[in-house]
């Protein structure tokens, strides 16, 4: 199990023990982290698992592949720290990862 910290848009921290091999989207959903929805079920097709990676973690994550970049292009409110939770798989190397979830859209 790997400790991941999600910070929601209200600033509340959710430290969760994540199962290796799961995606950040799955981890967030299992732990009811606000701001992560996963409407398309993790198919990299909707952008509703968009999250912002803490600056000191951006370079430590495996880089986004083309399909994730394509979807990020169509996702609202992205920044250079944006990633899709469905494309990041938990490994022990991610212990201590901090990500922020976006504010809910109306």
């Amino acid at each position: 199990m790997t400790l991941i910290t999600f910070i929601d848009s209200a600033g509340q921290q959710h430290g969760v023990e994540a199962e290796d091999g799961a995606t950040l989207m799955e981890v967030a959903l299992r732990n009811a982290v606000p701001g992560i929805i996963g409407e398309c079920g993790g198919s990299c097709a909707c952008g509703s698992c968009h999250l912002y990676v803490a600056e000191d973690w951006i370079a430590k994550l495996p880089p986004a592949e083309a399909m994730e970049l394509d979807m990020l292009d169509l996702t609202f409110d992205t920044t250079p720290a944006s990633r899709l939770g469905c494309q990041i798989f938990v490994t022990t190397e991610l212990a201590g990862l901090v990500v922020t979830t976006p504010a809910p859209r109306d």
Binding site: E39, C40, G41, A45, C46, S48, L69, L74, F76
Partner: protein, 340 residues
């Protein structure tokens, strides 16, 4: 770099970002509606892949939108079970064909979605894929060949499959009714489905089918996208003419084949000055004649009402049992059913 990004540079070197479309909102609408419209105690389709998929002889690919008219997916499930088929039905946004992305110009993302959906079919090691949705089929035809597996290439439609497996002796209950079938015509696939449906209906005691011309102006089915391309106003006019022809031919009800046509026929008829004819999906009639419990067409009931408060009250058991957020439920119902 994907095709979606091959846009000309703007002055100053900036690259235009594709117009954002709320894909999450689109899928949320489908998922929420499905949860509100379905039997809250049993979901008739698999939306989330099991950790270890088991083999099934058939994968039934529903696509995503049919579950907005959940009673159709439920009736199909009942009928296939009754026919003794070993199948898994995959439906909802997780099993989207990607046409929603394609229609917005995001070809690469659409292809990616399709590739993952196909991977999910194959996880069940099926012998055959049965395809429900004409949009999914159309998208498959345009998909890169390298994405297509043998299972996908040898697919057949649900309707032609049912015509093969539903033996005449299974239809034990009479359905004394005169109907007109809303069919699209002009391509071999459309004609094959229409022909298969006629064969099935010929086995239902008491059922009379009157002849009305097939819809040829709109390809395959009345999807939102096809109707948009054709134009809302011309569609309403064409529909009014078609309903009048069905009525003149003596039909008491109109039979839909596809979910999209069912939805549009129900919604567009709300404005017809001549009054609406009841729309019934062909699977409901099959189920009735097979002696299966009939699934209520909540879509038609709610569309006729248009009263969002009453609709939300009607689906409150689903809201409670499935833990659906009230605001999300209201938004989904209002978007689909409020009258303009």
């Amino acid at each position: 770099m994907s095709e979606d990004k091959k846009a000309p540079d703007l002055p100053g070197g900036a690259v235009p970002k594709p117009q954002p479309y709320d894909y999450a909102g689109h899928f949320a609408q489908v998922r929420t509606m499905a949860d509100l419209m379905r039997d809250p105690d049993e979901q008739a389709w698999t939306s989330t892949m099991p950790a270890q998929p088991e083999h099934h002889q058939f994968v039934v690919w529903l696509g995503c939108n049919v579950i907005r008219t959940a009673h159709i997916a439920e009736a199909l499930n009942d009928v296939l079970r009754h026919a003794g088929a070993d199948f898994v039905a995959l439906g909802g946004p997780n099993h989207c064909c990607g046409s929603v992305h394609q229609n917005k110009g995001a070809k690469t993302i659409g292809d990616n979605m399709l590739r993952q959906t196909i991977k999910r079919f194959e996880a069940f090691t099926p012998e055959r894929m049965l395809n429900w949705c004409p949009s999914c089929d159309t998208h498959l035809r345009k998909a890169p060949a390298e994405h297509l597996t043998e299972t996908v290439k040898s697919r057949e439609t649900v309707t032609t499959f049912l015509a093969k497996v539903l033996r005449p002796d299974l239809f034990t209950i009479a359905v004394p009714m005169t109907v007109a079938v809303h069919a699209h015509g002009g391509t071999p696939d459309e004609d094959a489905d229409s022909q298969a449906l006629r064969e099935i209906f010929s086995r239902i005691p008491g059922l009379t089918v009157v002849d009305v011309p097939a819809v040829t102006e709109i390809p395959r089915h009345c999807s939102d996208n096809n109707v948009r391309k054709f134009g809302d106003s011309p569609y309403k006019d064409a529909l009014a003419g078609w309903v009048a022809a069905a009525r003149a031919a003596g039909a008491e009800r109109i039979v839909s084949i596809y979910h999209s046509c069912h939805r549009q026929l129900v919604l567009m008829q709300r404005d017809l000055p001549s009054g609406a004819m009841e729309i019934v999906n062909y699977l409901s009639l099959i189920a009735r004649s097979l002696g299966l419990p009939e699934r209520e067409d909540r879509f038609s009931r709610f569309a006729a009402s248009g009263d969002v408060d009453a609709i939300v009250a009607a689906v409150s058991p689903n809201i409670e049992k499935l833990g659906i957020d009230q605001d999300r439920a209201r938004k989904a119902m209002a978007k689909q059913f409020s009258k303009p």
